[in-house]
Amino acid sequence: METIDIKEFKSAKEAKLPQSLEELSIEERERLKFLGVDESLKRGGEYIQIDAKPFICKKREAKGLEMLPITEALKKYDWISDYFWKLVNPEKDEFTKAVAEDLDDGYFIRVLPGHKLVYPVQTCLYIRTDKVAQKVHNIVIVEEGAELNLITSCSVHPHLSSAFHIGISEFYVKRGGTLTFSMLHVWDKRTYVRPRTGVLIEEGGTYISTYVSLFPVKSIQTAPVCRLVGPNAKASFISIIANHPDSHIDIGGEIRLEAEETATEITSRVVVYGGENIARGKIVAKAPKVKGHLECQGLMLSDEGVMRAIPELDSHFYDVELTHEAAVGKIAREEVEYLMARGLTEEEATSLIVKGFLRVKIEGIPPELQKQIDKTLELAKLGF
């Protein structure tokens, strides 16, 4: 992974916040709409941040939901200190340090005990100004027995010479709560991305994380740490990635099974058109009677790219079930020719096969989200 000099980027605070969506170009609005910032979609709430500042922060579903820019939440609640920088260490690296020293903003979302939100909450972190580093800190708390579908779309203005997104996220799923967190990202071949995420899941809680990145990006490096601290807690991580030429994508994840009867599954599907992809995953069994499975599948479409699958299983107990499977290969010629015999060009056939390969059926996510993921697959150019 190449080094990024954070000093080369301006503070996002210097950027001017637009007065309204109308100030955005049609191209920008189209992009945001595609990412789910769309009035016509049913949403429980919406948070949109442009560069350093919150642009929209609006609840549409009044009951059980709290949404605030994190800077306001920090002022409003003393108890937030129990959640702030508790799952991610500010000293972890230069990027966490940068956010700790100079926070722009981020979202604070809390679902009160027992409330199951009907519609997803949409957040969007958008970089609009050239050569800035956007420094975000998010906190999500799903209280006991509550349920939240959170969709985060991150993107950049279509014509920037460079941009840098650093996002700290700390997610808490309390007893019996459920959080599905889906990231649909449309970066740009000049964007650097460094998410730093920590997740804590209590007894009987469920966390399902889906990461979709099908468009070019300069570099992403992330390795969320997820702790399952109560019995019967569950976590799934799914990533659906198209790795384009000149993109460096390194996605990892460490799941710590710290209580009995916890379970996790990590699934990644990667199509490599070029560039470098590293799919890491680590499952650590810190309690007996736990289950973990790690699956990584890569499809190579060119000799120009590199794919590394690095699965890791760590057990400290004998009564555990940890497995992994990884496979990297090419598109079957036979499948392409089958479709060509039906009148598809080689490009169309390849694109359809890739789409099918990336179409992971995700258990537990709402159908509208599945639809949105399918739509992204539809629009991403997946030929060669």
Binding site: A332, R333, E334, E335, E337, Y338, L339, M340, A341, R342, G343, L344, T345, E346, E348, A349, L352, I353, K355, G356, F357, L358, R359
Partner: protein, 248 residues
């Protein structure tokens, strides 16, 4: 009669092995021809060469379709010109539904796809991953449905009866008849080339001309039912002996 497909002295090799050794035949518009041959005689190779799969390297000869030399065209160009093939063992494509492929095969709207699938009680398969876990008969139905939507002028059928139980063979026969306009009065515009090693498909679909292929060469040409009867009686050994008698 107008010729739809003409194959002239076709020599084909696959992975360095000659599988067709000077095949020639002519299919007029509206006719169905059938080729008998034992396993390994080159039947599939002939169909794959007509469809233009690159693994089947044409060493010599020509394939003329609708008056155009298509010997060098890739499969999708041939498909666009009106050639369609029913695969003997089509691949599974994971994550891709039959419905999606049907949609891509045609510019038609979804209604017709539903309707057509339902008329062959196959609608439940539309949202299944293509060919995954399909039985022998289901594969045939899926292939024929794709062909019906593709609507080619020349249909290449690779062992349409193989792996199909008696219950389904009738329906598959019906589908093939429809594809080849067997129920309509002449003049027909659709043509077919059926290959088979058992010949049983003839009980469901009529053919205008039959051939026997042996070791990559076509030997016999004649009434399909007569050839079928002879093969049933004497087997392909009989064909060999017959050739010996004729001094070939």
């Amino acid at each position: 009669m107008e010729t739809l497909l003409e194959i002239k002295d076709l020599w084909v090799e696959i992975e360095g092995r000659k599988v067709l050794k000077g095949v020639s035949l002519k299919i007029p518009v509206g006719q169905t021809h059938i080729i008998f041959g034992r396993n390994g005689s080159g039947k599939t190779s002939l169909l794959m060469s007509i469809m233009g799969f690159p693994a089947y390297k044409v060493l010599h000869g020509k394939i003329i379709f609708k008056g155009e030399d298509i010997t060098q065209l890739p499969p999708y160009e041939r498909a666009k010109r009106g050639i369609g093939i029913m695969f003997q063992r089509p691949p599974t494509i994971r994550g891709v539904k039959l419905r999606e492929i049907l949609k891509l095969c045609s510019k038609e709207n979804g209604v017709k796809i539903e309707e057509l699938a339902r008329s062959f009680t196959f609608e439940k398969f539309l949202d299944r991953e293509i060919n995954k876990g399909f039985s022998g008969g289901e594969i045939k139905k899926s292939e024929l449905l794709q062909l019906m939507i593709q609507n080619p002028d020349l249909v290449l059928l690779d062992e349409p009866e193989s792996g199909v139980d008696l219950e389904n063979i009738h329906l598959i026969g019906q589908m093939i008849k429809k594809l080849l306009q067997k129920e309509t009065h002449r003049p027909r515009t659709k043509s077919g080339l059926i290959i088979t090693h058992t010949g049983f498909i003839l009980q469901y679909v009529t053919a205008d001309l039959g051939y026997v292929i042996m070791d990559g060469e076509i030997y016999c040409e004649g009434n399909p039912l007569e050839i079928f009867e002879a093969i049933q009686k004497y087997g392909y050994e009989g064909c060999k002996n017959c050739l010996k008698r004729c001094g070939i």
